[in-house]
């Protein structure tokens, strides 16, 4: 059991600029938490503060009800996998894995048993006598993970553990990490800059930018209800399409009008939000590429109405496999759509697409916040 709580944690090196600002998070046991964000966003710094490798400038770190700000790294009972693996070069794989147990003076036969168990689990039994210099990147990675899982620490910390591997190996290790998490039943805190890793592995994702948490939520909600334009653009590939639109009311209905003659109707709860405060204002519309659909797909989803229609000029069709990405322009705006690869598309011609306005996001152009309320807040507002 472990329960890690960060409360208003800040990190500053020069007392003026903050590398991490007001980081607050509760991590219940067995969660797979991902810190994701562009480089320099403070995600690694936060992880290192939890590990005890960096001092916490202000705020509190609680591990299992104990204030841990000043507890030394070696006494926190965590284990960590580093980006460069940090294997001890002078020790064999076996000794590397046994290190954390040996310095705790555990009985030899027990250590031996655990090393072999972990090695078997990771498929590195045949490497136990080798030294790190004689291992490939993927093997080093496994040894690093193996060393980390020898103990049953309160949490595993992983600092971009897959970033030094090639794409294929990375995909493979991702699956294995997910399996491992299920088997070990322990909290994992994982830092990455790769949104795919974040989405596939995490049970909870913390998106950071410039030392500030942008959103902390489940992968689904982060994807479907990004808190602001940054999160919306960072998560998901290809990125979300953004269009500047005017909020207009016509014949009792609310429309978003964009450059290139695009007029899209907004319905339901979203319509109410817009009607309340935003009529006549300029807003940013965000649409995921898969929510721009060709006619066949759209009719299957029953969104094939004129009020959802938009016309665009196809600049390029990128064939991916089952799908194709259409890179298009609608005059001033460049947009991307994800359509089935069998959809008939002619390049350098106009195409009619249908927007799934149910899934559209609308952002304030100045604060860049999502003005559509998140489901969480709706519930809370109801109870308050």
């Amino acid at each position: 059991m472990s329960n890690i709580v960060l409360k208003n944690v800040c990190k500053s090196y020069d007392k003026e600029h903050y590398a991490v600002q007001d980081f607050s998070l509760e991590i219940p046991d067995r969660e797979f938490v991902i810190f994701v964000g562009p480089s320099g966003c403070g995600k690694s710094t936060t992880l290192r503060m939890i590990a005890g490798l960096e001092e916490i400038t202000s705020g509190e770190l609680w591990i299992d009800g104990q204030l841990c700000n000043y507890v030394e790294a070696k006494d926190r009972d965590l284990s960590m996998v580093f980006q460069n693996y940090a294997l001890y070069p002078n020790m064999t794989v076996y000794e590397n894995m046994a290190f954390s147990l040996k310095i705790r003076k555990q009985p030899k036969d027990e250590v031996d048993k655990k090393v072999h168990e972990a090695a078997k689990m990771l498929g590195i039994e045949h490497l136990l006598d080798r030294r790190p210099a004689a291992l490939s990147g993927g093997q080093k990675q496994r040894v690093a993970i193996g060393s980390a899982i020898m103990r049953r620490p309160k949490a595993f910390l992983m600092d971009e553990p897959l970033s030094n591997l090639d794409a294929k190996l990375r995909a493979q290790m991702r699956v294995e990490l997910a399996k491992l998490h299920k088997e070990l039943k322990t909290t994992v805190i994982y830092v990455t800059h790769d949104q795919t890793e974040a989405m596939t592995l995490g049970t909870k994702i913390i998106v950071m930018k410039d030392g500030v948490v942008q959103q902390a939520d489940t992968p689904e909600r982060i994807y479907r209800h990004p808190a602001n334009k940054f999160v919306a653009g960072f998560i998901g590939a290809p990125s979300m399409n953004f269009m500047e639109t005017m909020v207009m009311e016509r014949n009792g209905a609310v429309y978003l009008e964009a450059d290139g003659g695009i007029t899209l109707r907004v319905r339901g709860e979203n319509e109410m939000v817009l009607r309340r405060a935003y009529l006549g204002k300029m807003m940013i519309l965000g649409l995921r590429p898969e929510d721009l659909q060709d006619e066949i797909t759209a009719s299957a989803h029953q969104i094939c109405y004129e009020e959802n229609q938009l016309k665009a000029f196809v600049d390029l069709r990128e064939m991916i496999g089952a799908e194709a990405y259409l890179h298009m322009n609608t005059g001033r705006n460049l947009i991307t759509a994800r359509v089935p690869s069998e959809a008939p598309v002619a390049v350098k011609e106009s195409i009619t697409l249908y927007a799934d306005m149910e899934k559209a996001q609308i952002f304030d152009p100045f604060t860049e916040e999502n003005i559509l309320s998140l489901p969480v807040e709706k519930e809370e507002r109801a109870t308050a």
Binding site: A73, K74, L78, N84, Y88, P89, N90, F99, I103, R131
Partner: protein, 289 residues
């Protein structure tokens, strides 16, 4: 004509080697062979080989207790110097491995002995160790005649040499420490290791490649110590500091027994070579990364 140019071009390649090779030939290869040659002869006072005696010079060395003494003294001396100078260098390097205010001054101080000449160092030690006015006796409140007492003389020369050689060892070890990846210390912290465990399990093994190199260099250097002995003890008292190099010097330039001195030179060379080869053999087996 073309052929001549071609040949010139070929010859040009060797031109770049000529300066070094000529000097090596005159002052290293030739005297090396000449030393072996001399060691087989009896010589006159001018060092000219006069009478072929075969291995007689070696035989008389091997039956001479004074020679065994100087071999033994040399080994003792080398052992103390190597251990001492490496320990001092390592101590300095470890103390300077973490940044703190004034680190530049300290690291310069630790490396400084390498700029001190053996003769200057010996003169300084001579005063420091002086039985009546020496500061060491005053500080320790003893009256030991350091360099004239057979019990202490060798240790004094060895300590002086260790001090002189510690400077460059400091540089070697500092470089070695700098080569150790910081993140393995971080991993060790998270793994639960304390400072002592980190030092013995990570720092020392991490230094082992450079440690080996330093050991070889130190041993070779220690075998060649001369100025210290010449100025501080002249091989005495008795023959307690009669290192092999000093013994060579004395045999050749005081006793004019060039043949015997040459034989000792050959022995010195053989010992150094054997030690070096053994160490490389051991290294191949020991340090695997």
């Amino acid at each position: 004509m073309k052929k001549v140019i071609e040949k010139c071009k070929k010859a040009e390649v060797y031109m770049y080697l000529i300066p070094s090779m000529v000097i090596f030939s005159i002052f290293l290869f030739y005297p090396f062979i000449k030393t072996i040659y001399l060691s087989l002869y009896k010589t006159n006072k001018l060092g000219e080989a006069k009478l072929y005696v075969g291995l007689d010079n070696y035989k008389s060395l091997l039956s001479n207790p004074s020679f065994y003494n100087s071999l033994w003294v040399t080994l003792e001396f080398v052992a103390i110097v190597v251990v001492g100078s490496m320990a001092l260098g390592l101590l300095g390097a470890v103390l300077c491995s973490k940044a703190f205010p004034g680190i530049r001054v300290f690291s310069t101080s630790y490396a400084l002995p390498m700029a001190v000449a053996s003769s200057s160092g010996a003169m300084i030690f001579k005063i420091i160790l002086n039985p009546t006015i020496g500061i060491v006796n005053k500080l320790l409140h003893v009256s030991i005649n350091w360099v004239s007492d057979p019990k202490y003389a060798l240790i004094c020369v060895a300590v002086l040499t260790a001090w002189l050689n510690s400077g460059i060892n400091f540089l070697y070890f500092s470089a070695g420490l700098g080569n150790i990846d910081d993140s393995i210390y971080e991993r060790a912290s998270v793994d639960g290791a304390n400072a002592v465990q980190k030092f013995f399990k990570l720092t020392l093994p991490g230094l082992s490649p450079i440690m080996f190199y330093t050991l070889v260099v130190n041993i070779i250097q220690a075998f060649q110590s001369f100025g210290q002995v010449k100025i501080l003890t002249q091989g005495g008292p008795g023959e307690s500091t009669n290192l092999i190099v000093y013994s060579i010097y004395r045999d050749a330039f005081f006793n004019y027994r060039f043949g015997s001195a040459a034989a000792q030179s050959v022995v010195l060379f053989l010992i150094v070579m054997a030690l070096t080869l053994v160490m490389f053999r051991v290294e191949k087996r020991g340090v695997k990364y």
